[in-house]
C-alpha cells in the first residue's frame, strides 16, 4: 500500500478539482450556468475554469434555468458532455420541465439511440442562514423521476469521486451538493485524487451494533455526531451514508439493518412524501423479521423551509436523532 500525503481540503475545492480534471481529460466536457465564468460561481466551485479552458468551455449563460438546461440537452445531443450549475436548489424549478420531459427520458424515448450524458449540479439544503428560496431539499422530486441518477456526497473524497463518476456517466445525473458542507474540511490527498466506486453504492461510515442510522448528504456529519453522543447512553450506532439515492443500494442498507435490528432514517427534507418514507418501506420489506422496532424517520418538518433564525428548530439535530434512537427500544428489556 502506498502512503499518500493527506492534507485538509474543503468539499468545494474537491469539486473544483473534479471539474478541472474532467475538463482536462475530455474536451467534450463543458461547464455552463449563471456566473460560473469570471466569478467562478457564487460558491466558487467553478473558480478558474473559464481562465484555464476558455469561455467556450466554461460559459456564463443568460439567466434562465430552462434555457440553460434546454440548450445543454441540445449540446449533449450533438456529443458534448455539459455540466450545468443551478445556482441554488429553489432556482432549479424553472428547469423542471426540461429535466422531467426531456433530460430524464431522452434515452428511453429514442430506444437507446440518444443517451444524454448531462450532469446537473444543484447546491441544496439549509443550515447556512440563507434567505427564502436558498435552502430547499428537493431530492424527492428528482428521485421520483425515472431516468435520472441522484447522488449526493458527504465527504471531500466522495465529492471528487462522485462528481467524476457523474460526468463520466452516459446517463443524466442530478448531483446534489450539500451547501453547508462546502467549507467543511477533511483529510484528502489533492495530489492523487481517487475516484470512488460506481454510482449506486452506499458506504458504512461508522460500524455499530445497536441500530442503523440511514442518511445522506448534509445529515451524515450530524448522524456521526449523534453516534458519538449515543455512546454515553450505551448505544453503538452504525451510520450508513447512501451517497446515491437513485440507484438505491438495498444490499448495503438491508445488510446493516439485519445486523443491528433497528433503523432510523435521517434527512432534512420534509418527512411526508419524502425520501425517508421510501427508504423505511424498502427496509421494512426486506428486513421485517430482523426488526426489533418500526423503522423511524427523523426529517425536517413538513413546512416551507423556515426563515434563517428558525432553521435550527427545523433541521434534524443530534438531540432529535437520539430521541428517535431511544424510541427504538420498542419493548422494555433492551
Amino acid at each position: 500500500m502506498t502512503t499518500v500525503a493527506l492534507k485538509p481540503a474543503t468539499m468545494a475545492q474537491a469539486l473544483t478539482r473534479a471539474l478541472r480534471d474532467a475538463m482536462a481529460a475530455d474536451p467534450s466536457v463543458h461547464v455552463m450556468g449563471e456566473d460560473v465564468g469570471t466569478l467562478g460561481g457564487v460558491f466558487r466551485v467553478t473558480d478558474g475554469l473559464a481562465k484555464e479552458f476558455g469561455e467556450d468551455r466554461c460559459t456564463d449563460t443568460p439567466l434562465a434555468e430552462a434555457g440553460i438546461l434546454g440548450t445543454a440537452v441540445g449540446m449533449a445531443m450533438y456529443g458534448l458532455r455539459p455540466v450545468v450549475e443551478m445556482q441554488f436548489d429553489a432556482f432549479a424549478y424553472p428547469a423542471f420541465e426540461q429535466l422531467i420531459s426531456h433530460v430524464a427520458r431522452m434515452r428511453n424515448r429514442t430506444r437507446g439511440a440518444m443517451p444524454l450524458p448531462l450532469t446537473i449540479r444543484v447546491p441544496y439544503g439549509g443550515g447556512i442562514g440563507g434567505v427564502e428560496h436558498h435552502s430547499d431539499s428537493s431530492e424527492a422530486y428528482y428521485m421520483a423521476t425515472p431516468g435520472l441518477h441522484v447522488v449526493t456526497p458527504a465527504t471531500v473524497a466522495d465529492a471528487y469521486g462522485l462528481l467524476r463518476a457523474s460526468i463520466a456517466s452516459d446517463d443524466p445525473v442530478v448531483f446534489l451538493e450539500p451547501k453547508r458542507l462546502y467549507w467543511s474540511k477533511d483529510s484528502w490527498n489533492p495530489d492523487e485524487p481517487q475516484s470512488v466506486e460506481p454510482i449506486g453504492r452506499a458506504v458504512v461510515r461508522r460500524p455499530g451494533r445497536s441500530a442503523t442510522l440511514i442518511t445522506y448528504g448534509p445529515s451524515v456529519p450530524v448522524c456521526l455526531e449523534a453516534a458519538e453522543a449515543a455512546r454515553a447512553e450505551g448505544w453503538d450506532l452504525e451510520v450508513v451514508d447512501l451517497r446515491s439515492l437513485v440507484p438505491f443500494d438495498d444490499e448495503t442498507v438491508a445488510a446493516s439493518v439485519r445486523r443491528t435490528g433497528r433503523a432510523v432514517v435521517v434527512h432534512e427534507s420534509g418527512g411526508y412524501g419524502g425520501p425517508g418514507g421510501e427508504i423505511a418501506a424498502r427496509v421494512s420489506e426486506r428486513c421485517f423479521h430482523h426488526l426489533e422496532a418500526p423503522v423511524l424517520r427523523v426529517a425536517g418538518f413538513d413546512i416551507p423551509y423556515p426563515p434563517p433564525m428558525l432553521e435550527r428548530h427545523h433541521l434534524p439535530g443530534v438531540d432529535r436523532i437520539l430521541d428517535a434512537v431511544a424510541r427504538l427500544q420498542w419493548e422494555a428489556g433492551n
Partner: protein, 388 residues
Amino acid sequence: MTVMEQRGAYRPTPPPAWQPRTDPAPLLPDALPHRVLGTEAAAQVDPDLLRRLYTELVRGRRYNTQATALTKQGRLAVYPSSTGQEACEVAAALVLEERDWLFPSYRDTLAAVARGLDPVQALTLLRGDWHTGYDPREHRIAPLCTPLATQLPHAVGLAHAARLKGDDVVALALVGDGGTSEGDFHEALNFAAVWQAPVVFLVQNNGFAISVPLDKQTAAPSLAHKAVGYGMPGRLVDGNDAAAVHEVLSDAVRHARAGGGPTLVEAVTYRIEAHTNADDATRYRGDSEVETWRAHDPIVLLEQELTERGLLDEEGIQAAREAAETMAADLRARMNQDPVLDPMDLFAHVYAEPTPQLREQEAQLRAELAAEAEPDSAAGSESEGRGR
C-alpha cells in the same frame, strides 16, 4: 444636493452608461407577409425547384389525408393534421442540408417525412408503439416534441455545440403560434441571439392553438416582431406560398451558416382540419373562414403558377398524384400490419445499466409473461407460493 436645490429647469438625461446598441429597423419584419407566387419575383425561381415543391406538396397532402384515415381505422391513436400547412412543412425540410438538423413539434410529422424519414417510422409515436420511432442522429431529426416549445432550446444548444466543434451545421426549429407564448420560446430566442447560434425558428401561425385564436395569444403586432427585442431579424412570410417560404427560410439558413446568427420567421398559414381528429373545430370557428383559406390553398397557388407559365401540364399533375397514391398505398399496407412489441423493452432503455430496482421489476414482468404463456403451470406455481 437634492433635485429641489438644483438650479434651472429639470432636464431628464439618459442613464449615464446607456447607449442604444443598434438601429432596430433592419430587424423588423415587413409590414405584409412576403410573397413570391403570382408576383414578378416568381420568374426568378428555378422551375425545377417549383416542380419539386409541387410534387412534395401533393404527396404531403395525401400523407395527411391517409394518416387521418388511419386514425378512423384505429391504426393511429391520434393525428394532428398539417393539411393547409404543407408549404411550411415541405420547405422546412427542403432548405436543410443533410448535415443540418430539424427540430419538429408534434404537428410536423410531414416535415420529417419530407426530409426523408420513412413514413411508418414517422408515425410510430402516434401509433402508440414506441415514443420516437427512429434514431434522431441517423436522420438528424430530433424527436417529434409534444411539450410545446421545449424543443427550441435544444435546437439552440445543438447549433451552438456544432459551431463550437467547427461544423457548419444549422438547426431549424418548428413551433406553433400558441407555442410562442411559452417561456421556453423566449429563453431559446434569447440564448440563440446572445450566442449568435446558427439556428432558424419557424413559427407556423395557423390561427389557433387548439381553440384559442391568435388575438388571445398575443398583443404583438406580429409574431415576427418578437425577434426584435432579442436582437435578431424577424421575417414575415405567406405560409401557403411554397416558393416564398422556401426563399425566406433559405435566406435565414444561409445567414446562419455564414455566422450571421439566428432568424425568427413567422409563416402566416391556416389549419384546415381540426386540431386533431379528436377535436371539434365548429365550436370555435365558422365555415366561411375555412372556405376563404381553402381558396388560398398552397397546392392551388403553386399549381396556378406552374400551369400559367407552362411548367406543368395535365400529365405532370397526374404524375404527382400517382406518386402520392403509391406512397399512400404503401403506408396503408404497412400500417395495417400489427406491430410486434416486446414488453421487456419497457426496461431496456431507462438507464445505460438498469438499477437493481429495475432488474427486480424486470424479473417480475418476465415471470408474469411466462405465467400468461402457460396458464396451467403458472396457476400451480402461484398456489405453491401462497401455500408457503
